[in-house]
C-alpha cells in the first residue's frame, strides 16, 4: 500500500466513524440509530485493518477482525434486542431538537480540533493528525448521553464513547497487543450486559425507560 493511499483510506475510515456519530444524532428511529452504531464499529475495524496492513502487523489485523465481530455484530445485536423488547414508542426523544444537537456536535468537533492541537503537533504521522476525530466522537457520545431520554439510547451512547476511545487508541499507539484488546472487549461486553439488564429492570419496574421521570424519589 502506498503512502498516499494509506493516508486517504485512513482518513476515510476515521472520517466515517465521526460522520456516523452525527448520523446517530440526526436519525429518529431507535432501530436505525442502533444500526448506525454497528456501522460505526465496522468503520472502526476498518481503521485498525488499514493501519495493520500498512505497517505489516498481522496481530493488528487480528485485532481488527475481533473489533469488527464485537462492535459491529455482538454489541449492536444486544442493543437491538433491548430496542425490540421495549414496546414503548420507538422514536428518539431528546431534550434539544435535532438541528440544535447537530450544531452542538459541530461545536464539539471544533473543540476537539482546538484542544488536540498540541498533541497533533507532536508527530507528523497521518494517524496522529486524525486523533481529533476520535476525541470528537467521545464528546458527541457524551452529548448524546446528556440530551437523550431513553435508557436504550444512552446504552448506544456509551458504545459510541467507547468507539471513540478505541479510535484514539488505534491512532495514537499504532497497534495494541491482542491481549489488551481482548481485555477491553470483555470489559465493554460486560458493561453492555449490565446496562441491558438494568434497562430491563427499569422497564419492568416503572413501565418505561424515560430517565427524566426517575428523578424524584417515591415510595
Amino acid at each position: 500500500m502506498s503512502k498516499t493511499a494509506f493516508v486517504q483510506l485512513l482518513d476515510l475510515a476515521a472520517g466515517l466513524v465521526l460522520v456516523i456519530s452525527f448520523a446517530a444524532l440526526w436519525l429518529r428511529r431507535l432501530a436505525t440509530v442502533a444500526r448506525m452504531i454497528a456501522v460505526q464499529g465496522l468503520a472502526l475495524a476498518a481503521v485498525a485493518a488499514v493501519i495493520g496492513i500498512y505497517e505489516h502487523e498481522s496481530e493488528l489485523v487480528g485485532v481488527a477482525v475481533l473489533v469488527g465481530i464485537l462492535r459491529a455484530g455482538v454489541l449492536p445485536g444486544l442493543i437491538r434486542r433491548a430496542v425490540r423488547a421495549g414496546d414503548e414508542l420507538r422514536e428518539v426523544e431528546s431534550i434539544i431538537n435535532v438541528p440544535a444537537s447537530l450544531l452542538a456536535a459541530s461545536a464539539l468537533t471544533l473543540v476537539s480540533y482546538a484542544t488536540t492541537r498540541d498533541v497533533v503537533a507532536l508527530s507528523p504521522a497521518p494517524q496522529v493528525r486524525a486523533i481529533p476525530l476520535g476525541i470528537a466522537v467521545v464528546l458527541i457520545g457524551m452529548l448524546m448521553i446528556v440530551t437523550r431520554r431513553k435508557a436504550v439510547l444512552q446504552m448506544m451512547a456509551v458504545l459510541m464513547i467507547d468507539n471513540g476511545i478505541a479510535l484514539v487508541m488505534f491512532l495514537g499507539t499504532s497497534g495494541v497487543p491482542l491481549a489488551i484488546e481482548l481485555g477491553i472487549a470483555s470489559d465493554v461486553l460486560l458493561a453492555v450486559f449490565i446496562l441491558q439488564v438494568l434497562t430491563n429492570r427499569i422497564r419492568t419496574k416503572f413501565g418505561g425507560t424515560d430517565l427524566d421521570q426517575l428523578r424524584a424519589l417515591r415510595d
Partner: protein, 315 residues
C-alpha cells in the same frame, strides 16, 4: 478576454438553454415509466414553453414592478451562471469572474426576486411559498458556500475553474474525505434548491406544502414560460456544478473544437446520469414534512462544515 473564451462562454449558454427542457423531459419520462405510465415525450417541456410564449400577457392590477421584472432577473441570473460555471472548458471568458461567491449570490439573486414576486401579488399562497422558500434558502445558501469552500481550501483559490483544474491535476483528491462530504452536502442542497422530492414536489399544484409552485401561481403566459425555463436552467446548472466540481474528467482544458465536443458529451452524460438517479430516487421517496426540511438541511450544513474542518486540519 480572448475571442475563444467568449465563444466558449456563449456556446455553454446556448447549449445549456437548449438542453435544459430536454433534461426535465427525460426526468419526467423516467418517473412515468417507473410508475407504469407511458409518460409525455421528451420534447414536451419545450412544447409547453412554446405554448406559453404564444399566449397573451396577463398581469394583475395589484402588482408592482417587482412582479414584472422578477422572471427576467431569474432567467438572466441563471443564464449568466450557465456561462460562468466550467461545463465545457476551464478556459471560459467569464472565468475571471467565475468566483464561487459570485455564482452563489447570482443564484441567490434569482431566488430572492422570485420570493419578492410571490409576495407582490398579495395572495395567500404566494406569501406562503415565499416564506417557505426563504426558510429553505437561509440554510441552503450557506451550505453551498461552505461546501465549495472546503474544496477551495486545498486549491488555495475560490475560482471554480481553478478548483476543477486542480482536481484534474491531482485525481486522488476526488476521493478524499473532504470532497466526499462536500459532495453529499451539495447534493442535498441541489435537491432543495431545485425543488425536488423530498423537499418540494415539482408535480403538484394543489397541495398545501408546495413551495416553488406557490410562488409562481400568479404568473401566466410568457412570464410563466420565462420562469419555467429559468427553473429548468437552474436544475442543469446545479447538476453540472455538482458533477464537474467532483468528477471533472472529460472537461476541456483548452478551447479546441474537438475537445469541446468531447467535453459537451461528457458533461451531458454526467448530468443525465445524476438526473436519472434523482428521478429514480424520487419514485421511491415521499416528500418529508415541511417542518422536517430544516433538519435535512441542517444535516447537509453539518456535512459541509465537517468537510471544511477536514480539509483544514486533516490535509
Amino acid at each position: 478576454m480572448s475571442l475563444t473564451g467568449t465563444a466558449v462562454a456563449l456556446l455553454q449558454v446556448v447549449l445549456t438553454i437548449a438542453a435544459a427542457p430536454f433534461l426535465v423531459g427525460v426526468m419526467r419520462l423516467i418517473r412515468a415509466r417507473l410508475e407504469g405510465r407511458v409518460g409525455p415525450p421528451i420534447v414536451q417541456p419545450w412544447r409547453d414553453l412554446r405554448k406559453l410564449l404564444g399566449k397573451d400577457r396577463m398581469v394583475s392590477d395589484n402588482t408592482g414592478w417587482v412582479f414584472s421584472i422578477a422572471p427576467l432577473v431569474l432567467l438572466a441570473s441563471a443564464t449568466l451562471v450557465a456561462g460562468i460555471v466550467p461545463f465545457l472548458s476551464t478556459k471560459s471568458a467569464l472565468d475571471q469572474v467565475g468566483d464561487l461567491f459570485a455564482v452563489v449570490y447570482l443564484l441567490l439573486l434569482g431566488t430572492v426576486f422570485l420570493s419578492l414576486a410571490g409576495l407582490d401579488a398579495g395572495t395567500a399562497f404566494g406569501g406562503m411559498g415565499s416564506s417557505r422558500a426563504m426558510t429553505i434558502t437561509a440554510i441552503a445558501e450557506p451550505t453551498v458556500l461552505v461546501a465549495i469552500f472546503a474544496l477551495s481550501v486545498s486549491t488555495g483559490s475560490s475560482n471554480l475553474g481553478s478548483i476543477v483544474a486542480a482536481t484534474l491535476a491531482h485525481p486522488a483528491t476526488a476521493a478524499s474525505p473532504e470532497s466526499l462530504l462536500a459532495f453529499a452536502a451539495l447534493a442535498v442542497v441541489t435537491i432543495a434548491e431545485t425543488g425536488r422530492i423530498p423537499v418540494d414536489n415539482p408535480n403538484t399544484h394543489l397541495e398545501l406544502t408546495m413551495i416553488h409552485e406557490a410562488m409562481v401561481l400568479e404568473y401566466s403566459g410568457p412570464d410563466l414560460a420565462l420562469i419555467e425555463l429559468a427553473a429548468h436552467l437552474r436544475l442543469v446548472v446545479f447538476l453540472g456544478l455538482l458533477s464537474n466540481l467532483f468528477v471533472p474528467w472529460g472537461i476541456a482544458t483548452t478551447a479546441q473544437p474537438l475537445q469541446l465536443l468531447g467535453a459537451a458529451v461528457a458533461v451531458a452524460v454526467k448530468i443525465v446520469v445524476l438526473a436519472a438517479v434523482i428521478a429514480i430516487v424520487e419514485v421511491f421517496m415521499a416528500k418529508v414534512r415541511l417542518f422536517r426540511v430544516p433538519e435535512l438541511l441542517a444535516a447537509s450544513f453539518v456535512l459541509a462544515f465537517l468537510a471544511v474542518t477536514a480539509s483544514f486540519f486533516l490535509a
